[in-house]
Subunit: 557 residues, 2 copies
């Protein structure tokens, strides 16, 4: 059994999906590893997780290693990199490190979970450096669709890992500095053992494009508008907010922020000195007194989220903001896969009010924050890693990224899956272990395992409905003395009368099934209930052609 | 009040969505219109309609006009044009007309609903003609992604309507004849009052491309494969099936059909003389004895449908078909909006088995069946209608199509919504009435109104879960004599022990609420149950931070 030092990389999120990033680096002998965690992100629930807003990476393995965790280092403030901090920090209880803007938003999250006083959160300046045991971590400024995107140069006694986080190469990012390519090239000169790199846009040729072009495109588009204008974008894209504000200013429009996260992010940006020289905003109430051509709404809801500002405006349910004939909505955003139906429905709702809809297909009003193939090629030329480790992708992104790295003559590539413990040194890169990985669902206030029976039941309830049959039986003879009372939820026959008949059929089925039981069988309440459930399920299938969940409740009096 | 003849067009489906086509044309004075119905299609349920497979256009208005309905004419056999015939025919009870391949599939649908002997179904030959009262209907052969796509030239005393149905211009459609442009030009010469036309691809420049190119692309791709090959495509795309079979033959592979609808469509095609000279298929069982390089599976499931053949293969749950390292799946299909997540998950499942995935992004293995902008321009030049009536589109498609028609100098355009009754003649086109339009849900064996409370409850059940509290009370004193018994579905606390505690809390809340009621209040059972429901709902919110549906059952003994 070896006891010599190893350097390992362990993704628990982000290697299988774009989002929900949770990465760990371990150093030391296998029986006594020291760990740093890089990013603690979430993803969002969809049709397969009804009622679940937020999904977390399963941290079980790292919990067992908690004593060895030296710190949690955050690359940038997107939800898929910091969103789980409030939920998972209590499982790690390690100090947290982030640059100022990221730290401002992390504080907000910790406050929401009542953790603000408990979590040691240290601000690292941009281009700062941090030593955590065997890990010497340098923050390298990159460009992305949020302020302060940092790559991490992680130096260890067994080599340097270049963890890019999310990035692109933007020669004019509007907010923040440009990509510090001199520093990345210097890392390449020092010798990069492994590059752990963003795969999001690996299927897109060329370059993502600069924010500067979007600023120009937005201004030209807004200038052509005569009525009210609403621009919807991700609130976290502060450069886009800045661009929109400047474009509005150039066109003589006052900006009104609409939506909670717009206010939150703008507040965080102002707190760290970003956006500080923009003209004052108008409130929603004030905006109503301005002529249409003098106002620009900056709204949340570009993904068709039903509770976001733009959806409420589109359905005419917003308290202060209304749009109609002659007005324009500019989607300064992309369509995230999975959101198509919601977004297209939102377009149609706006068009139904004769609002003009402009998207990135119609005008240059959006660029991606992730590197396309030419940028990836450039990064590999700068960093020249020995090992390519694609992350931040679904399986096909990771495989395609590995194939691209091979064409660039990177000597080794690995294609990690969540839970793969990958030895980066010594020796060739290899998966040396698999640890539990998965997803946890934040269901209301409770964190559930993704395999929890409740989630399976909910999907079935949603598709098939629920039947509950209750009756009371006498304690001695176990004869039915009241009921059966039948309740159905989520099942209809289209009219009251036939529904009454259906309920009678279910009650009769329950009664008949109970009467078929011997008095000995009736003594076993669980078995008796199960017999009733089976009969009611069969009757329901006959009535509706569906398989609802069925509960039988036998009360003994 | 006018009693002169009018020609009206009434879309009840397809003008607001791509799919669910249901069109009606009316002729006569308003108080005595004669009607023909063109197409009776469905759309499919998604995340907003859990448990609903099929969605129908609401036919309520046409039911009230039933005595005037002269016939139901079907343009082609896609589900969104014929899928509702079995559900809605009993509401119209009019004779049905279709060309042979369409009729074969319609018979199948009628058989499933026990209507085969009841429905008068008349086969019309390709290029045939049909007179129904004031309507003289000519079937014009077009090209599309299914055999026998027909446009309808509908002649009336007030002018000719050119109803295109779904079409493209394919110079070599592989199966069937090419677009009968001579006939369409002749209609233009005769004078087309209105063209009711497909809007699906109005946002796509250029042309859809020919099936012939796909045949070549498929063959080249299959030739490059060494292991097993599976091709997935819409079963109804018989030309694609033909192309795949020929390509397989050219590459020395035997074809095995996998999936119920593949067999159904191939059967229908053979029954009308299409596909008749193809080599024999091998069964799933036989395919297992062939070497990998000698087999090609033609599978359903290109949209990631969870119960379709390909999904079962990808999850290794298919009885006979297995794929792994060295094998290839070719998606000869597009990604229908809304299906992205399911399809990408399917890609990843296949990639996780080291199966190569090829899509229309990687190779020329698919073309659309709908006209792109150049084809639309061509059609307008041929038909030269006085009125452009875009259909088969969401709101934005219909508006864009109308804008395109205006650039082509069509004198009038209308932008219909479902339920708009549009007068085409006499006088300028105008919406003269709005009739009820909407959607019906096929929920198991029952057809529900889309506003049915059951559907709202199901969404809430899926997201929030269900709590049922039952207890028995004495008839006289109305004191609790058994229970409360609490059942929860779709709610978890993560472990048994805390769940028990949660159930106890709910029972306590129910009991306390009941005890707070005066004995007079307890006499009103509904009010008493409502009081208990409110208390339990509140307790559930406290435990879970969720708002489940709550039922209280009070049994009197």
């Amino acid at each position: 059994m070896t006891t010599s030092d190893e350097l390992v990389f362990l993704p628990l999120g982000g290697a299988g999906e774009i989002g929900m990033n949770l990465n760990a680096y371990g150093f030391g002998p296998p029986e006594d590893r020291k760990w740093i965690i890089v990013d603690v992100g979430v993803t969002f629930g969809g049709q397969d997780e009804p009622g679940v807003d937020v999904i977390l990476p399963d941290p079980t393995f790292l919990e067992t290693e908690r004593d060895g965790i030296l710190g949690i280092v955050l690359t940038h403030a997107h939800e898929d990199h910091i969103g789980a901090i409030g939920w998972l920090w209590p499982r790690f209880k390690a100090p947290v490190y982030a640059t100022p803007f990221t730290a401002a938003l992390v504080r907000e999250k910790l406050r929401e979970r009542g953790l603000l006083q408990k979590v040691p959160l240290t601000e690292i300046p941009l281009k700062g450096r941090l030593e955590l045991g065997p890990f010497d971590i340098e923050f390298v400024t990159l460009t992305h669709s949020i302020p302060e995107p940092n790559g991490l140069a992680i130096r260890t006694p067994l080599g340097l890992v270049w963890h890019t986080g999310d990035w692109k190469i933007d020669p004019n990012p509007i907010v923040g500095e440009t990509t510090d390519d001199a520093r990345v090239r210097a890392l390449g000169e020092d010798g990069v053992l492994a590059m752990v790199c963003d795969s999001t846009n690996v299927f897109v040729e060329g370059e993502a494009g600069s924010e500067e072009g979007v600023r120009e495109g937005l201004e030209a588009m807004i200038r052509s508008c005569t009525g009210k204008v609403a621009v919807t974008a991700f609130a976290s894209n502060v450069a886009r907010i800045d661009s929109t504000i400047r474009a509005a200013q150039a066109c003589g429009r006052s900006v009104c922020l609409v939506g909670r996260s717009m206010h939150k992010i703008v507040g965080a940006a102002l707190s760290v000195g970003i956006l500080k020289d923009v003209p004052p905003f108008v409130t929603e109430e004030e905006s109503g007194y301005l002529p249409p051509e003098a106002v620009l709404y900056l709204c949340t809801g570009s993904q068709g989220e039903s509770r976001a500002a733009l959806a409420r405006v589109a359905s005419n349910q917003h308290r202060h903001v209304t749009l109609g004939e002659g007005d324009t909505v500019i989607f300064s955003s992309r369509v995230i896969p999975g959101n198509e139906k919601a977004i297209y429905a939102l377009y149609d709702q706006l068009l139904a009010r004769n609002v003009r809809v402009v998207t990135d297909k119609d005008a240059h009003v959006h660029v991606s924050g992730h590197p396309c193939r030419d940028e990836l090629r450039q990064m590999y030329q700068w960093a020249r890693p020995r090992i390519a480790v694609p992350v931040h992708g679904e399986r096909r992104h990771i495989l395609e990224h590995a194939a691209l790295a091979q064409t660039l003559q990177v000597p080794e590539t690995v294609t990690p899956r969540n839970g793969d413990m990958i030895r980066l040194a010594p020796g060739p890169a290899a998966v040396i272990d698999e640890v539990p990985a998965g997803r946890l669902f934040v269901d209301g206030d409770i964190v559930l395992d993704s395999g929890d029976e409740a989630m399976r039941d909910r999907k079935r309830l949603g598709a098939e409905g629920q039947v509950t049959v209750s009756f009371a039986v006498s304690a001695k003879k176990r004869a039915i003395v009241s009921g059966p009372d039948v309740r159905v939820r989520g099942l209809s026959t289209g009219d009251e009368e036939t529904l009454e008949a259906a309920l009678d059929d279910l009650a009769a089925a329950a009664e008949a099934a109970y009467h078929r039981l011997s008095s000995a069988e009736r003594q076993d309440e669980d078995a008796a209930e199960e017999a009733v459930v089976r009969a009611v399920r069969k009757a329901a299938d006959k009535i509706w052609g569906k398989r609802p969940l069925v509960d039988a409740v036998i009360l003994t009096v």
